[in-house]
Amino acid sequence: MGDTEPLVRWDWIGRNWPGIQQLLTDHIVMALVPVVLGLVIALPLGLASARWRVLYQPTVGLMNVVYSLPSLAVFIVLIPITGLAERTTVIIPLTFYSLAVLIPAVVDGLGAVPDSVRQSAVAMGFGPMRRLLQVDLPIAVPVVLAGLRVATVSSISLVSVGALIGRGGLGYLFIDGWQRQFYTPIVVGIVLVVALAVLADGLIVLAQRLLTPWARARRTA
């Protein structure tokens, strides 16, 4: 890499755009599928933990242990089962990471339902299921979405690690740039990952504003 090498070679980007787009799509899928799966799994587990408090500490403890596992180690364990350079191999550990964030978010969200609200719901004659769907869950939404923001942004960032097993979405650009001592792919990769994270975060915030206009007081407080 000579002194005259510029930080970004625009012509390289132009020539490789179709490939970059493919990596971007792959990245989005591998980042978002774990978050969606995580949310789908975290809801029942979180509900159960909120209902039977004894389950809460073991569940969160287990999730934290999972969270502490190095992703590379998990990849190595999974490769014989799900295959090298496969999306599934990346999606599985990322789903667990999402769960570690989302389960406490669901439990905290349900915990944010004021006691007087819960009691008045019972006293008005809500049955358990109806109360959950029409009172508890809607009130938990702001806290759950706050967790979802963290889970989404970290998932987008973490996908890159998959490049080590040949499936890292935009992470490929980092390996490629590093191996060739060529800055452009690295810069493109960073810019796109950050842009993706900011965009996803912004969309969730927007959804939050639209879904929970009633929570403005709590947000500004």
Binding site: P114, S116, V117, Q119, S120, A121, V122, A123, M124, G125, F126, G127, R130, V135, P138, I139, V141, T212, P213, W214, A215, R216, A217, R218
Partner: protein, 346 residues
């Protein structure tokens, strides 16, 4: 009518919250459960809509044992107002009020129309209907809570310390509002409070409870003030029982002199015949005065009006505030003597 028959609530650890409670809550009147914390008043209230189930004894709602009714069905037929209002933060005011109608499967339009009608009824601007609870003051939220409890027009209303979280001025106006509503609606209301003054102001019947879930006394407020059953009730009622009891003696029994004065003093009136002060014979300037409404006020207000004025006499006025007569000290003395003799019989 709600009847408690030997109702006991005992928890797993042996704590007795309510001990062998037997009493009747009459239809169309306000019954207040009052007592210090730990006396079981809230537990008793919550047993009525089965938020808590009694361990022993039974509760009858118009002769039907409430255990025979499925809890959600029972609760939809009983209005409930809770201390912090407990409004649903994610629902607009109109939908909060329409909660029970929605649960009962009313058509949305009809439920909302009913909610708007109730907002007006509890003295709220219908412009608030589209707001969320956090945009309302504590007093407004509590009014919404009352509207919500009334939405499906339940015959019974349970109120669990509904006004204790708001400031005294707002509390007084909410209490007046409740009395005004009750005069129109005639609900069977069970009201829980730890504030004896609130109990005396609102209750047609007051049940005083003591720690351990015992009923100490149940009586009309005037009777309670005149004849507390024991030292606990007397202590709980506090000072000035004699004076406070005069609130329940109507002033209409007073002997009113239609002369515009008493010896040495005359009542000065403005051009609308409304009193503006006492004038001492042969002196200029006006002295302080007090008035009471002959038809609406109590003996206590009349006495207060007399105590405020240098001549020691009270000025009676009609509903429009016009001079109606003078009550002399002697007439007051006579009324006070009568009031002291037979409790609750002014």
């Amino acid at each position: 009518m709600i009847t408690f028959e030997g109702v006991t609530k005992r928890y797993g650890d042996g704590t007795v919250a309510v001990d062998n409670l037997s009493l009747q809550v009459p239809t169309g009147a306000i019954t207040v459960f009052v007592g210090p914390s730990g006396c079981g008043k809230t537990t008793s209230l919550r047993m009525i809509n089965r938020m808590i189930d009694a361990t022993e004894g039974r509760i009858l709602l118009d002769d039907q044992d409430i255990r025979e009714i499925d809890p959600p069905t029972l609760r939809r037929g009983i209005g409930y107002v809770i201390q912090q209002a407990g409004l649903f933060p994610h629902r607009k005011i109109v939908d909060n009020v329409a909660t029970v109608p929605y649960l009962l499967g009313w058509d949305k339009k009809k439920a909302r129309a009913r909610a708007m009608e109730l907002l007006e009824r509890v003295g709220l601007d219908t412009k608030l209907a589209g707001r969320y609870p956090f945009q309302l003051s504590g007093g407004q939220q509590q009014r919404v809570g009352v509207a919500r409890a009334l939405a499906a027009d339940p015959p019974v209303l349970l109120m669990d310390e509904p006004f204790s979280a708001v400031d005294p001025v707002v509390r007084a106006s909410l209490q007046d509002e409740l009395l005004r509503l009750q005069a129109e609606l005639h609900k069977t209301i069970v009201f829980v409070t730890h504030d004896i003054d609130e109990a005396i102001k609102l209750g047609d019947t007051v049940a005083v409870m003591r720690v351990g879930g015992h009923l100490a006394q149940i009586a009309a407020p005037a009777t309670l003030l005149a004849e507390p059953a024991d030292a606990f009730v007397e202590g709980f009622l506090g000072k000035d029982r004699g004076i406070r009891r005069l609130s329940f003696v109507p002033a209409s029994g007073l002997a009113v002199s239609t002369e515009r004065g008493v010896p040495g003093w005359s009542v000065a009136l403005d051009e609308n015949e409304r009193p503006i002060g006492w004038r001492r014979d042969g002196a200029d300037g006006l002295q302080p005065f007090g008035t009471f409404d002959l038809k609406k006020d109590s003996l206590r207000t009349a006495l207060d009006a007399a105590l405020l004025a240098p001549p020691g006499s009270a000025i009676a006025v009609d509903g429009d505030g016009r001079f109606a007569g003078v009550v002399t000290r002697e007439a007051l003395d006579e009324a006070l003597r009568r009031a002291g003799q037979v409790p609750g019989d002014g």
